[in-house]
Symmetry: C2
Subunit: 424 residues, 2 copies
Amino acid sequence: MSVQIRELLQLLAYLLRWVLITLPVGIAVGSACALFLWSLDQATQLRFAHPWLLAGLPLAGFAIGLLYQSFGQSVEAGNNLIVDEIHQPGGGVPLRMAPLILVSTVVTHLFGGSAGREGTAVQMGGSLASGMARLLPGLEPHDVRRLLMAGVAAGFGGVFGTPVAGAIFAMEVLSMGRMTYAAFFPCLVGAIASDQVCALWGVGHTHYRVASLLSADPARHVAPFDLRILLLTTLAGAAFGLTSLFFAELVHGLQALFRKFVRSALFRPVMGGLIVIAMTWAIGRRDYLGLGVTSPDPNAVTIVSCFQSGGATTWSWLWKSLFTAVTLSSGFKGGEVTPLFFIGAALGNTLAGLFGVPVDLFAALGFVAVFAGATNTPIACTVMAIELFGGEYTLYYATACLMAYLFSGHTGIYLSQRIGTPKV
Amino acid sequence: MSVQIRELLQLLAYLLRWVLITLPVGIAVGSACALFLWSLDQATQLRFAHPWLLAGLPLAGFAIGLLYQSFGQSVEAGNNLIVDEIHQPGGGVPLRMAPLILVSTVVTHLFGGSAGREGTAVQMGGSLASGMARLLPGLEPHDVRRLLMAGVAAGFGGVFGTPVAGAIFAMEVLSMGRMTYAAFFPCLVGAIASDQVCALWGVGHTHYRVASLLSADPARHVAPFDLRILLLTTLAGAAFGLTSLFFAELVHGLQALFRKFVRSALFRPVMGGLIVIAMTWAIGRRDYLGLGVTSPDPNAVTIVSCFQSGGATTWSWLWKSLFTAVTLSSGFKGGEVTPLFFIGAALGNTLAGLFGVPVDLFAALGFVAVFAGATNTPIACTVMAIELFGGEYTLYYATACLMAYLFSGHTGIYLSQRIGTPKV
């Protein structure tokens, strides 16, 4: 029994210690997320009000290139640097990563680059957590790992308003097909703190409603089972996974092309900006610029419109893939995840029309599943769907995310992710 | 690209193969679950109608002991045998495990033993899956593992009506603090098939309603955040985990005592039955006999009543722990999980009164968290809560399950579970 009391005291000390370490990180990351989301919103509104800003995209790209060449060479690797530091704590993540990625992401969005938020949030979380680790010089390497993971969880949980998914994501993203729980507590504390602090700053998140098939009985917490919809979910999940694979390959392929044909890193985003402008002109729509969550144009394709019948065109998912891949592979900054939400929701919308199934459900499935495939995090994405859309379709979310995970190949948007267990 | 097409074909072959292998197992296990749940219900109704049946408990125990001594020595180890076979495929799980555990669990319940269902379902699933493995002699050891895990997932998913939790449980229960995804697809197929087949046989599950704090806005999928409730959830989670630890130690301790003082395995359940009768007589209530989900007596403490204010007494959780530990450690058959649901929900009810927080929420937290602590499966139990009670409280479920996991020590009710990652 005395062994158990000693174990209990050790556990209490562990919990107290990690609350004290993780809470400040969560508060800092949550505040950074709030500032980031607010700036992003300002930039997006400004761009809506002044459509000519798009013309400045090549120049903005040059500025971002210059910024990173001057101050950011140590943090250029972005998310991969953080994942690498978690696998093998080394020199740490420089604190400058946070302001650099914040400013350059907002600039990317202001001028109409198609990018996301999660990469930025994860990098802010990782670099702030790494800064905290340097303030605590006695930390063991495995504690540095835990702290970095808590930072990633805080970034993810704060930026999307999904704390449980954030905590699981930080554990799940490191190694494909394997998850360990050594950092579960710090991750959950960091993610909850960040999400709540972000909310206290008055920054909210978009709400989605998925209501087809729902039972009216309040004591039924799951949607009635429908074999046809489940089979079509399986099929759609495979399509979502192949889309993740396509997107990851497209980004890596374009990156190689840009490197090959544009020798100077400063001019690659200039070229990328010109291509984005050309594509916008070619299709005559601005729907695939920026974040894509909402639009002042009621006829535009947005993530929100994808949840309604007719809210996306057949090839919206492909266009958003191209816009985003060009933006990011040429050197603009931002995450891939919100565009992946868009791509998935748009493809879900298209498939729902093809299959004759509820549009809102299949948009939601695509929203999380393309992301699950691209990052190999099926459980975090299932939980994210529950936190964003409600728990009634858990079975369908899990099925779509698992299929997308299986079909997305042994790669993904995080190149420093390791293979924990082969998929087949 | 040809590498990717080969990979894709391999994946399709893998999926087809596992659907063909797992579907029959899921159908068989789901049918077994339906038969089991129906028999259990008949036995429980019969016991309610004829209270004197309790007097037969010692004799029933003798019969179960005789049954296992005559036919069941190879399957006596129960759940542990299955977990061992998954870690290290050896002689396989004998098919006779399924009928033996089914009959002896129903007999245990008919005469008032306090036991559960999950052990029975997992054993039926494991032995039927192992039977399937023998029909497919070409299976590699890692495929036998996958098939056994799918059997466990099917048993769990079918008996509780929670397929996603069942699939995750089968992956999570093997090693404390670590989960790998190699069997995710077979587990999900097995669990969904089993759950649906069980439903097709007309067997339903108890529905619970947790509605305090819920927002009336249908586009809000999570309950409003409440810091006080979250902190009390943390505290309650720790209490739930310590209760898991207490319960596991109690069962193991009583098992050792029974072995020490009653040399013959035939007479241990006789002694256990006499103690259960004595305890029932001592407290003058029959509430802690049997499964405990419902009761014909509207004033009885049941799992369902624990979700209402005044639905449990202060020490209901302790009484149910004692009744169950005596029943199972002396050699009666059945699972531990439904009693753990009872113990958790009752303790949650007590704590809710103490803390002044919603009773339904804390009963639900205890329901899943004591089980999460005893089996070291915090993520499966979080998902189980979502499937049983809805997704609105995901943050609270995850917090309670994680705390219970941390506080339940490096042991649990599955002794053959390995330590994947230490908790602290």
